[in-house]
Symmetry: D3
Subunit: 232 residues, 6 copies
């Protein structure tokens, strides 16, 4: 069994699709997400004329990504979980983008889950950042993180409490067993962007909170290193 403070093995392929060089196949364990960043002219209506750009994310799971098969949602209504996740990804990515420096154009980051084994939302943020950074680097070759539209890097990981023990990077089996789970989104420089801790039919105390945050920081530092190796 994987030690409680260790990430799953990670494999990242940048430029996975010929049709889009800013596409990234991000694997952590058996979770596989295809993240692609696309540039689009203009911004949403409520942002027009303000000299700022926009970054948004869309998230979906292929039917074959789970076993048993996940029914394809064609109702025209996004389910609550999908809505929450793609709003979280978008907010997280925007936290490190200087929207003024982007100018009046939009970046859409598509995160499509090919295989789901827990942690798809944090994988989407971590992999989505690599796709975003690849796109910006192609458009603005002279920019770098901290110098241009990208102010910092961003990565995310889950932590949780299972039978009283705090664990890092929950796969599906651990996620089901967890009483509490928390997703943490942090910048490369170590500041929080999002902290979402939830006990479904359970609660947690101060000490558990402190230990979860410490473990998340350790994991994010490792992810940040992997990101910077690819995009800086």
């Amino acid at each position: 069994m994987r030690p409680s403070d260790q990430l799953r093995p990670i494999d990242i392929q940048v430029g996975y699709l010929n049709s889009n060089p800013s596409s990234v196949l991000y694997r952590c364990g058996d979770t596989v997400v295809l993240c692609s960043a696309s540039l689009e002219p203009g911004v949403p209506g409520w942002l027009e004329g303000k000299g700022k750009g926009w970054v948004t994310a869309e998230y979906d799971m292929l039917p074959s990504s789970t076993n048993p098969r996940k029914r394809r949602d064609r109702s025209g209504k996004l389910d609550g979980r999908t809505t929450e996740i793609q709003r979280l990804i978008g907010r997280s990515l925007r936290a490190v983008v200087d929207l003024k420096a982007l100018g009046e154009r939009s970046i859409v980051v598509d995160c499509d889950v090919l295989q789901a084994d827990g942690g798809t939302r944090t994988a989407s943020i971590t992999g989505g950042f690599i796709a975003l950074a690849t796109l910006i680097k192609r458009e603005l070759p002279d920019s770098s993180i901290g110098n241009g539209p990208l102010r910092d890097s961003i990565a995310a990981i889950s932590v949780g409490v299972i039978d009283g023990e705090v664990r890092l990077d929950l796969d599906y089996e651990w996620d089901v067993a967890a009483d509490v789970d928390m997703n943490v989104v942090m910048t490369g420089s170590g500041r929080f962007v999002e902290l979402q801790g939830t006990g479904e039919e359970a609660t947690f105390d101060d000490e558990q909170l402190t230990r979860m945050i410490a473990l998340a920081k350790k994991g994010i530092a490792e992810l940040t290193q992997r990101q910077l190796d690819l995009v800086s």
Copy 2:
């Protein structure tokens, strides 16, 4: 100006509607939410036959609750914010309910915002608990908190960082000015149920996190007292 560690004035009317004795008009400052709990036979399909009950919440804002008027959403698609809020309210209330003790029946807690001035989701949780507890007390007069379906009380409050200062209970004006805001949901016995901290185009550090949590605990202790005066 209100001190940074002080709640807005709170006014709570239990039994506001003749049509439903478990209806609560909850005011905190200029935020007014009508919370009503209703008992319904049966449970959702995926829970049938497990000998457990269910608690869910629905949240909406009247068009006249904001100025300018909020367009009435009749698209058939819940917007992302509404979806997130009503899922949060439901999870929070379920955290203190013993679903087995409830038996195979459902409680719906409707939270309709009559007037919005910031903090409608936390008001919905705090007021929704009073509606829920009133309903359970009417159905099971011999039960009490800790003895029957209700294991504990639950309340929620927001905190945030404005110009570097940590503030309690954000009204609309403060919410707009805040770089970071965090919603904290805690039980009467002082355990966390949800912690949602977000920096939209901003970040926060460990020290700010510690101070926000401390301030939230202080506010929730006061709210818990108000709740227990009414329903225990």
Copy 3:
């Protein structure tokens, strides 16, 4: 039991919400409707460039307004009853508005039922007029009914036939018992705007029609007096 020719007790609070001074809480017996008028720039597309304004209404019932709880409709399709009612409210209000004098802008009157005990559509018209007149008075302080965009006042009441007897102002219990019911909308000067008489699995004759109309006129005269006390 209330005499057959008598209205239920009426209570009207103008400026009920701080967020909108043109909000009216209208109670008749146990029916409670929150009516709010809002001014919006522009007119619907088909009316653009004609130098006329528009008045429309939206109607909805809170889930907790009935017992048992009314399921919240989130299908995206307005049910037939809601559609009919809000079209009726809109037509009725427009009948006393000089749309040219209004100029190219729109007024939306929201009628949200907090508690339903029969007569919600007629309460919405009577209360909605007060909200509308309050808004116009605030925008055009020199105007008055008959002098400015408002040509007259408008009010509405229901009448019906129960066991052969004609009765005024049907509450829920009477409405269920009625063989025939008729909604009458009239101006303050005593002219008809709408007359909708319906026998569901029943019919009515000339004499009953004459008596229903006479009783409705009596009720509307009283409502008009209440309206004029508040808005003229």
Copy 4:
């Protein structure tokens, strides 16, 4: 110009479609409606087990029925006018049907407008009754009006006020010119089922109401005669 108290010429073909012998092509002037009655097993869920049947109507207009072409509505939301009309047709037909005598089965009356020149809803009621009566006669050859599921006949006509003059059977041109229009639905024995008088941006007084009703009665007596010639 047609005299103000005269109906448009009427032509009725029973059994218009080979696929349904209870299909009726109903023409009054240039308004053409195809009315078909179909028997279906069972009743809507809320009526199950009560030993009663149900009658409902659906109304639609072909795109080519108007000039310019009416856009085909494929939004999944019935517009307000269509909803109101098909509810009116259904209520009107049910007023003369003994639902108990029908037994636990449903009749759907489809009213599809092939060409629209005013009065499509009243034509749908008058023609729809013929389709309904034809179907019942085929199913229950020994029944007759007044003896079996049909208690009476039903017909409908419009009246209105144009330049102060009361007129019968409004075609499109008259309808546009009318200040007030009223649809009257009556049984063959002369009792009212529905009375819907509306002044859009206009009003009417007692005397006009009296004259409209008198004229409507005259028209309905003629329509009743035409119906009875075909189905009794």
Copy 5:
């Protein structure tokens, strides 16, 4: 029984509706389709500014066109069969229209099935062409087929294999019995536009293909003659 190489009897009424002179009632056997062509200003957004016009088709079936009654689809989602058919009709008609010669305007051809006995899509194409040609002739009296926006005529017919025998013009009974059916769309000058052969749970070989095509050509030659008699 009709010989295997013979069309059903055809009856065509041009100008069936007073409201639209380009309306055609097309009957082949017991299949009856009302085809109407309407001119509309402008073109779809993706075609704007290219100096070309557009031709599109909409197809629907009345509920009473089949026995038992076909449920009216008001879900807002076109079912797959309807979508395929109206795309096929549109493509077929466009194949003989010089969209440049049409200029920047659109023609909508509505095909509404009044009675369905097999072959409604091919009847819609054959009848729809007559409606289209009638409209163009009215707008451009000096044009003719081959000289103006219409480059050729177009017609369609079905063929199939029943118990090993190839048959022309499948009515409903034959269609149900067929192992293979093929719809063929050809111009008056004998060139293919569409060829759609399908074996549902069956297959076909080269020789059957050759014989089906030969029979379809014979049928289309007859239909072309009928069309040219009416519109050239």
Copy 6:
């Protein structure tokens, strides 16, 4: 330039996803489709109790599969092209399945396009068959093609006419240039299942038809060989 009678290079990975061993990554040139077959209990309602199984297909394209990005369709309405394609895939696969031998259960074949360069529907059929056959082989190890639920293999390819020349296996560039394109679906034993030839704003004659069919047969024979190498 690729010779006109030659297929693009093909690469097929069976068991691409750990979560589903019946998943196939099918590449032909730059077109990449992920095909997964899943077994589900039961059959659609209209097939219940007939002792037969069902095979259906769902088709979708990831937003990043095209450049520029294809907008994700979340309207709840399948566009016409998607509807046509997934109906075609389903019909094609069913043509070689003995639904009785399958028993009362369903197989869903998901075809999700990761990268699109023309020919995605024919790739979905050819790859979808491999996923289907892999699933059946796992469930019924003793079955083989011709002996068990699978009666034959099935594959598909496109052909077209470009500047008068007939070409095999159209990629995106050729597809845009083609005047006529035809999709051919055939069994391994050389019988037709579907033949869909279309000239958008163009037509074709007998000789072109003959040559397109000959070329398609050649391509399908090669594809069949590749399939049998993997699944027999």
